[in-house]
């Protein structure tokens, strides 16, 4: 049932339309949950199918021949991303409903969120470069709306930075795609995989770099990351959580796709340099701040660097490590922002200057923070450690000592800034004093806690099932390094 691949895109759009007409809140919530649940189910079925049959599934929109139609392509990487993204999106939705703030104030939160869902799904499934651009616009436009949802001053200000730089990104992407069409006469990625190879080196290089710059802005790599730490921290936590977990990863996904399918073996050295610089600059930023949301935002950048490094190794094992990193990082980062959301909801701020001693108020909350935080810092036995280890090992294997040493130092710095959060927010005197008679932060915010706990459980599950999951990632990486398979699956032999 390849055609059902369109469901995770069309269904949320349809639902968004319905929610614009019907504004009853309970109804809106139910519809949204159902849609996200269906999305997750479709994604899981697709993943199981793709993994079992070791195939690449294709559906051509409109029933046209796939070389001329817009195609949706599900290979191992895209369905994996779809599954983890759908799961995270569902849990964040539950969190947001629990948090109350955003959707209580605005009947537009859920429609915008659903469009974001559609955009993310489309970005992962797109087999057509222009369609990928449209997917980016979908998720960007809805992210603009979500970021400025409450319309308060700080959001407008930082939202402006976000919007402007992402508009620049869209423009560069559009130029790149337009020129690719001009050079080859198609935007179908499978056909492009063949035709781009025939172009003169300089033209192919220029097109490749244009796409890299565009996706690099989206992924927030050095030196195109500036917008991220300025804009993410001002949005409501549920929004930031989804942005942090997923949007930059869409950029990374797009980089993986273009560097393996369209321009294989192109820019390894460049990617390694970018990866190293990105992880370093991100972690330095994180260490210099004293507000949890900012610190976490800078860590997004830093962690992106690891993934770029994995792509830069240019080997199956390197890609596998990067893909595994991607898989682990999405729930971990989202969980951290959700924890931050609970703290902010409880204390009104997550700044060290205004908050401390949380461990005395809620031990479970501390544990809930500690697990993803340590995972992020790459401590065993958590998932982040495995991802980092895979990268380090591959780096040594490829004798890329320089960048690996940077990666190891950065993970120490990551530990430094995670402990800064820990000692700053969780340890120390209880401040501010909790409202009288209130015990158990988690029990008080039941829905928010539930979704956070579930996400943390997902990260633990990833660590526990690392063996089979890593096998899966390796198979995905092998698929990626054989673009001919992709081409064959889409346009036939």
């Amino acid at each position: 049932m390849n055609n059902w691949l369109a469901v995770p895109i069309v269904l949320p759009i349809l639902a968004a339309g319905v929610l614009l007409v019907a504004r009853d809140r309970a109804f809106q919530r139910t519809i949204s949950m159902v849609v996200l649940g269906v999305n997750l189910a479709v994604a899981v079925v697709a993943m199981v199918h793709v993994a079992r049959s070791d195939s690449i599934e294709v559906t051509a929109m409109g029933g046209w021949r796939s070389s001329i139609a817009i195609t949706l392509v599900a290979d191992r990487l895209s369905v994996m991303m779809l599954v983890i993204a759908s799961a995270v999106l569902l849990m964040v939705l539950v969190f947001a409903i629990g948090q109350g703030a955003s959707d209580e104030r605005s009947p537009l939160y859920l429609p915008a969120y659903l469009v974001l869902v559609a955009g993310i799904a489309q970005a992962f499934l797109a087999g057509d470069l222009f369609n990928l651009f449209v997917a980016f616009e979908l998720l960007l436009m809805s992210s603009y709306v979500l970021l400025t949802l409450e319309g308060i001053n700080a959001q407008i200000r930082s939202g402006t930075t976000y919007v402007v730089l992402n508009v620049v990104e869209s423009s560069i992407l559009l130029v790149g795609i337009g020129l690719i069409f001009a050079a080859t006469g198609t935007v179908n990625m499978a056909v492009l995989s063949q035709r781009l190879a025939e172009l003169p080196d300089s033209v192919a290089l220029g097109l490749n770099l244009l796409l890299l710059v565009a996706f690099g802005i989206k992924a927030a790599v050095f030196p195109l990351f500036f917008w991220l730490p300025d804009s993410y921290p001002t949005a409501p936590s549920s929004v930031t959580a989804v942005f942090a977990g997923l949007l930059t990863k869409v950029g990374v996904y797009a980089i993986i796709r273009t560097e393996t399918l369209l321009f294989p073996g192109g820019q390894e050295q460049l990617l390694l340099v970018i990866g190293g610089a990105t992880m370093l600059i991100g972690v330095l930023g994180a260490m210099s701040h004293t507000q949890m949301k900012r610190i976490l935002s800078f860590h997004i950048i830093s962690q992106i660097g690891y993934m770029i490094m994995g792509i830069g190794f240019g080997t199956v094992a390197g890609l596998a490590a990067a893909v595994f990193y991607l898989l682990h990082h999405i729930p971990v980062k989202t969980a951290l922002f959700l924890v931050e959301g609970i703290i902010e909801k409880e204390a009104g701020s997550s700044s060290f200057d205004r908050m401390s001693g949380l461990i005395h108020r809620s031990g479970p909350l501390a544990v809930l923070f500690l697990i993803p935080a340590l995972s992020l810092a790459g401590l065993p036995p958590f998932s982040g450690f495995l991802a980092k280890f895979a990268l380090v090992r591959e780096g040594f294997d490829e004798a890329r000592y320089g960048v690996v040493i940077v990666a190891i130092v950065v993970s120490l710095f990551t530990l430094v800034s995670m402990t800064k959060i820990w000692t700053g927010l969780f340890w120390g005197d209880v401040d501010p004093k909790p409202a009288a008679g209130r015990v158990g932060i988690l029990r008080h915010h039941r829905l928010m806690s539930m979704s956070t706990v579930l996400l943390v459980a997902v990260t633990l599950l990833i660590a526990a099932l690392a063996g089979p999951l890593f096998d899966y990632c390796e198979a995905a990486a092998r698929q990626l390094t054989e673009p001919a398979r992709y081409v064959r699956a889409v346009i036939g032999p």
Binding site: A6, I13, G62, W64, S67, I68, S106, L108, P111, A112, F130, N131, V134, M141, S142, T148, G151, I152, V164, V168, F181, A182, A183, G185, V191, R195, E198, P200, S202, V203, L205, G206, L207, L209, L212, F226, W227, D230, L284, G285, A286, M287, S288, H289, I359, G363, L379, P380, F389, R393, F396, L412, T419, T423, F426, W427, A466, G467, F470, D471
Partner: protein
């Protein structure tokens, strides 16, 4: 976790079960909460005793037990546990002392609110430490290694309201964390070079080469940080901010020995390298000396013992690091002896602290008279530390001296250097032991005797009695321990040999021992009145602080530059990157000839292009908002006409309509703003921006020409033209593409439009809302 098909954790894999039981109980204690401290203690003690008994029972079996769990097979990540002799000894120390100290802690903490957290993490730590000593593989050891660092962090910071505790915890974590990362590097390097990290496999065919040496340096770095070797010794005294039971358990008996365990496992395989031996002797020797000397300066008896531990760790590092057969044997024996007497001493200090409310030598007085039994027990442990016959410490140290004297056969002249260092270090050990005894239990002429505040219960004194008893009995019948550790020593190095005796006879080692004792006592008498206030110039703690602060400072400086917060700077940087990408591509090509270019396709085209260009430039120059908008309109309409000329009526129509609406929206917004733009102050000079934008324009044009010239494939449009009418039922190909061939794009695009419109609506509504709220609050103020 770590599933192997068909195998269940339990009877089939007792070691795994033991380790997991710790984690389970520890987490349960943490989860259940504050009110059940008695239950926490008993369950903790039960699990630790179970581990102890299980270890004994397993050790009595004939075969070596081996349990392997594959985690990520492709990366060679396996959890590999093996119960060999050395693991048994260490395991017994971990679980035995753990049970003892946990019981002690129940009395020590009394009704402290943090006790539950302590007990939970304590049991977790014991589990991690058990896993560590059972590790048969470097990777496995690393996993548990990092866990012990983490739990140590949580325990040092137990009193998290104190700034000092927080700082010390952080210092310990980051120092050992750095070592942990070194170990990670070593694991990865061994994986790459040898394809395995299992100790047994490495021993079977030891890899060699520069990369392996690099890995070994990393191993040493890890061991030195964990076992508080110079120059990383500073974190250990800081860790004394933890409650005394924690210090007794983690920071003297168990965790700090992890580095020693690592070296003990690696030395028989790789210990024959010169740099290995030299770094062990130099760092171990310096650690032994510096630790001892600094112990002499301490007034806080707990800190005195902590520096003593540092010194002893240096000693053991030398024994295991040199790794000759007899030194390995002596090392295992002394490791046990040290665990016993040092834990006993710490617990004794805890009792003193609990009873008299102080640990300060300059405050305590007459403790020995008021608590004779306790004093006697503590003195027994202290003398064991100093190596006085007939205590256990004497027998093990004696063995070490014998080993060192004979070691030149294996390690050449280095053995003599090591011997001298150890002798000097032991002299200092005797000195600080005496300082400890007289300072803690002696009477001071210038002070009144300390008051007994709380009578210690049996739970507090019991463990001290037991440990002192072990020191004494072990010293009287050293053969028991001697036989017990022979197997374990052999499991490290098959050649290891030796036995412990009470009376070695008058030989070189014995005479050296006597010399050490006499020299130490004499020097202590001679120097006891001296004020030791000259600081040692190398202060690791300060070095750590400087490094830590400068890293933070660097991070702030870098961030101040990279993250200016100014949108203009961000935009300029981004456009510069775009420019760089284009320039690289253009110059890569070399030649820039483009065939088949005409000046213009028609005179109308040329005319409109000129007009549009003029309007564009005008748009940059004018500062009047409405004029700007009008110019934008001119450009847009001009482009629409160009599209029409190009043969794109749909495009022209849409462009025309969109441009009109854009203009309307522009005017709707601009009418509310001032007529002219503010002169825009900016971080980036105007000239620079001008140059960048001109270059972007030029580069884009050149690259576009290049692409135009490189056009290869036929457009998919030709197929659409063929299919359009018969298959899709439309003659306007563009429209058919939009609603059919590429209808999916259109679906996305209208959704974008929908959400944008909704976003506009939301912004306006939120502004109105905020205005209402402000108005309402203003009314309130008025009222």
């Amino acid at each position: 976790m770590l599933g192997e098909p068909g195998s269940l954790v339990g009877i089939g894999s007792p070691m795994t079960a033991v380790v997991l039981a710790h984690f389970l109980v520890g987490l349960t204690i943490l989860a259940v909460g504050v009110r059940v401290s008695r239950l926490a203690v008993s369950s903790g003690v039960v699990v630790l005793l179970t581990a102890f008994i299980a270890m004994v029972a397993l050790a009595r079996r004939d075969e070596e037990i081996h349990e392997t769990w594959t985690w990520i097979g492709d990366l060679g990540l396996t959890i590999d546990l093996r119960l060999d002799g050395f693991a048994v000894v260490m395991g017994l120390v971990v679980s035995g002392l753990g049970a003892l100290i946990l019981a002690y802690a129940a009395a020590y903490f009394d009704h402290d609110r943090t006790f539950n957290r302590f007990a939970g993490v304590f049991v977790l730590f014991a589990g991690a430490m058990t896993g560590l000593v059972l590790s048969a593989d470097l990777f496995t050891m690393f996993v548990f290694w990092e866990m012990t660092s983490l739990f140590s962090f949580l325990l040092i910071g137990l009193d998290d309201r104190s700034e000092k505790a927080r700082k010390s915890a952080l210092r310990a974590l980051l120092t050992t964390g750095m070592g942990g990362l070194a170990l990670l590097g070593a694991v990865a390097l061994f994986q790459v070079e040898a394809g395995t990290t299992s100790f047994a496999a490495l021993a079977e065919s030891p890899p060699a080469g520069a990369v392996v040496n690099a890995a070994l340096v990393l191993v040493l770095l890890a061991a030195f940080t964990k076992s508080a070797q110079f120059p990383f010794h500073f974190w250990l005294p800081g860790a004394m901010a933890a409650p005394t039971p924690v210090s007794a358990y983690l920071h003297s008996a168990t965790m700090v020995k992890a580095g020693i365990v690592l070296v003990a496992r690696m030395a028989p395989i790789f210990g024959d390298r010169e740099f290995w031996r030299w770094s062990i002797v130099v760092c171990g020797g310096l650690t032994m000396m510096i630790g001892g000397l600094r112990a002499l300066k301490q007034n806080d008896i707990k800190l005195l013992l902590a520096f003593g531990t540092v010194s002893q760790l240096g000693f053991m590092m030398i024994l295991f690091g040199l790794g000759t057969p007899s030194l390995t044997y002596a090392g295992v024996a002394h490791l046990v002896a040290h665990a016993i007497f040092k834990a006993g001493l710490f617990l004794g200090v805890g009792v003193v602290d609990h009873t008299f409310g102080s640990r300060d030598i300059t405050v305590l007085s007459g403790v020995g008279r008021k608590m004779k039994w306790l004093a006697a027990l503590a003195v027994a442990n202290a003398l064991s530390m100093a190596g006085v016959i007939p205590l256990l410490g004497f027998a093990t140290k004696e063995k070490a001296l014998v080993g060192l004297i004979d070691s030149d056969h294996y390690v050449g002249g280095l053995g003599n250097i090591a011997l001298v260092v150890v002798v000097l270090g032991s002299v200092v050990t005797v000195m600080y032991t005496l300082r400890f005894i007289s300072g803690t239990f002696g009477r001071r002429s210038d002070a009144v005797d300390s008051d007994v505040r709380h009578r210690p219960g049996w739970l507090l004194v019991g463990p001290v009695v037991l440990l002192a008893g072990l020191s004494i009995i072990g010293g009287l019948v050293p053969g028991v321990l001697g036989d017990l550790v022979r197997g374990p020593a052999k499991s490290l190095d098959a050649a290891a040999k030796g036995h412990l005796v009470l009376w070695p006879g008058v030989n070189a080692a014995f005479l050296t021992s006597l010399g050490i004792l006499a020299g130490g006592a004499a020097l202590w008498r001679a120097t006891r009145r001296l004020e030791w206030n000259r600081t040692i110039p190398i202060d690791g703690e300060r070095a750590y602080d400087v490094v830590y602060e400068s890293v933070l400072s660097i991070s702030r400086r870098v961030t101040a530059v990279s993250q200016t917060g100014s949108l203009v700077v961000y935009l300029v940087a981004t456009m510069t990157v775009v420019l760089a990408a284009l320039v690289v591509a253009i110059f890569w090509a070399g030649d820039l000839t483009v065939d088949g270019l005409v000046i213009a396709d028609s005179w109308q085209q040329a005319l409109i292009v000129i007009g549009v260009c003029a309007a564009s430039i005008a748009l940059v120059i004018v500062r009047h908002r409405f004029v700007s908008a009008a110019m934008l309109g001119v450009v847009g309409f001009g482009v629409a006409v160009l599209f029409a000329l190009h043969g794109a009526p749909d495009l022209a129509l849409t462009q025309l309509l969109v441009e009109t609406l854009t203009l309307v929206v522009f005017l709707l917004v601009l009418r509310q703003m001032p007529r002219r733009f503010d002169p825009s102050p900016s971080w980036v000079p105007r000239v620079f921006r001008l140059v960048v934008s001109l270059a972007v324009g030029a580069a884009m044009t050149l690259f576009a020409l290049q692409v135009f010239d490189a056009r290869t494939g036929t457009s998919v449009g030709e197929e659409y033209a063929v299919l359009s009418e018969p298959e899709a039922g439309g003659r306007n190909i563009v429209n058919v593409i939009l609603v059919d061939f590429r209808g999916f794009d259109t679906l996305g695009e209208i959704t974008v439009l929908a959400i944008a419109a909704i976003g506009v609506m939301n912004l306006v509504r939120m502004a109105q809302r905020q205005r209402r709220i402000e108005a309402a609050s203003a009314d309130e103020v008025v009222a």
